[in-house]
């Protein structure tokens, strides 16, 4: 690798956070609009999250008297940085991941756990009883959904015999398995979709915020810039989790399915690239629609023990069953 490659890479690394934030907010706008339309409302315009952010950053940043100030300020920054770093390791559409190594997948899983921990620490540091209850719930929930998530990730990595996301996303996992394994993968997909709302703290797994119970829970004492950073973190996390799901399960690019013109046609490569990027964004939209928006409007918030049970017993069993099926097929 020469110096020019490194320069381009650094340039991309500097740009990608902004791209991630932009699309995160855009998808948040989509989520809100679609949710509203499903509830027979008109809903906010797509650019509403951008306005929210602008307004939050203009507002005063209030620190409560009982708060541990430096932790209180530091946790939103950690919550935002972790998914931004994860973005660098993820394959986005036709682009290879900017950084890669041998254990990308494990690294990403850990990076995804950081925002939840940061939120919990920030909540505990704010010194409000509501935030304390919210922080406890967030940690319980995190411990619950990590297990099915890890099972799914490990199964797919086992099939590829690699934890490198570049390797995993190079071929579709569905093409490697037979009918029995496909059934197993389907179960794992279901498990991953069930993890999605928990990972993103959306209803029915929004116990940590639980507006009617805890008046905002973790974020009850946060305001202004700090709240805005948490908001951004949530938005970027949505893109990261969606992109991870795509990389693990649906890495196909649209350009490999059609033969328009050919490499000799001018601008073909550019057209392909654009088509692939759009296809990736469409996949992300469908995942967010199915995994977040529909679930969010179709279910009531669970009690925390029932949410925990849901992940630990039915979803873990589902994941394990899927794993057994995939492994079994490999053994035959």
């Amino acid at each position: 690798m020469n110096a020019q490659d490194w320069l381009i890479r650094i340039l991309f690394i500097l740009v990608i956070p902004f791209v991630g934030i932009f699309f995160g907010l855009l998808y948040k706008g989509f989520d809100r609009k679609i949710t509203a339309m499903m509830q027979s409302r008109i809903g906010p315009p797509l650019r509403q999250p951008f306005r929210d952010i602008r307004k939050l950053f203009m507002k005063e940043n209030i620190v409560p008297d009982h708060a541990v100030e430096w932790i209180f300020h530091a946790s939103p920054i950690f919550a935002l940085l972790a998914p931004l770093v994860a973005l660098v390791y993820l394959p986005i559409g036709p682009f290879e991941p900017l950084m890669e190594g041998f254990g990308d997948l494990i690294l990403i899983l850990y990076l995804l756990a950081i925002p939840a921990v940061a939120m919990a620490i920030g909540g505990l540091a704010s010194g409000s009883p509501y935030a304390t209850v919210g922080a406890q719930r967030e940690l319980v929930l995190m411990m619950s959904y990590e297990f099915p998530l890890a099972i799914a990730a490990v199964t797919i990595a086992w099939k590829f015999e690699s934890f490198s996301l570049a390797a995993i996303s190079s071929t579709s996992v569905w093409s490697l398995v037979g009918p029995l394994g496909a059934l197993g993968l389907l179960l794992i997909t279901l498990g991953l979709f069930a993890v999605l709302p928990g990972e993103l703290s959306k209803a029915p797994f929004d116990q940590a915020e639980a507006e009617t119970e805890l008046a905002g829970g973790l974020f009850v004492e946060y305001s202004g810039r700090n709240l805005g950073v948490f908001y951004l973190s949530e938005a970027v996390k949505m893109v990261v989790v969606g992109a991870l799901l795509i990389a693990l399960l649906f890495p196909q690019n649209i350009s490999q399915w059609y033969s328009f013109g050919g490499p000799h046609v001018a601008g073909f490569a550019l057209f392909n690239l654009a088509a692939d990027v759009l296809f990736f964004l469409l996949k992300l939209l469908i995942i967010i629609f199915l995994g977040v928006s529909v679930v969010r409007v179709a279910l009531a918030r669970f009690q925390i023990d029932k949410a925990s049970y849901f992940y630990w017993v039915p979803m873990t069993l589902l994941g394990l069953l899927g794993t057994v099926l995939v492994v079994l097929e490999g053994a035959i």
């Binding site: 679609i34 339309m37 499903m38 509830q39 027979s40 409302r41 008109i42 529909v294 409007v297 179709a298 279910l299």
Partner: protein, 134 residues
Amino acid sequence: MPTSTVFTLIKQLLTKKATNPFPVKYTPGNMHAAASLIESGKLSINPPVDIPPNFRGKLSYDVESCIGCKLCLKVCPSEALAFKPDEKKVKHYVSRCTFCGQCVNICPKDCFVLTDEFLMAGLDNYSDELVLNP
């Protein structure tokens, strides 16, 4: 997953929304400019919700036929009516009115009528539009 709920939700995604929209989608920067645009037909506004037939809106007061019997003062719950002794008529403060219409019922000369006018917002409680027979 409750399937019938999901089915309804998908249906609602496509059907007409229940929200009553504002006359225009975003508040125009300049109200007067927007008003002239509407008059010239360049800007269309969302049609307002129908007013029901027996709507209780702003009172209208017929000063001529009022005989100054003060009965309306006796039933006005919010004391929105004041007597003018020199004129032997009443004065009505629209900003205090609760639109119960008890004055309409008790008036022997039928001076009061509840109209269907509802646009009464203003910055000054004592402006000409908000005080009848000042």
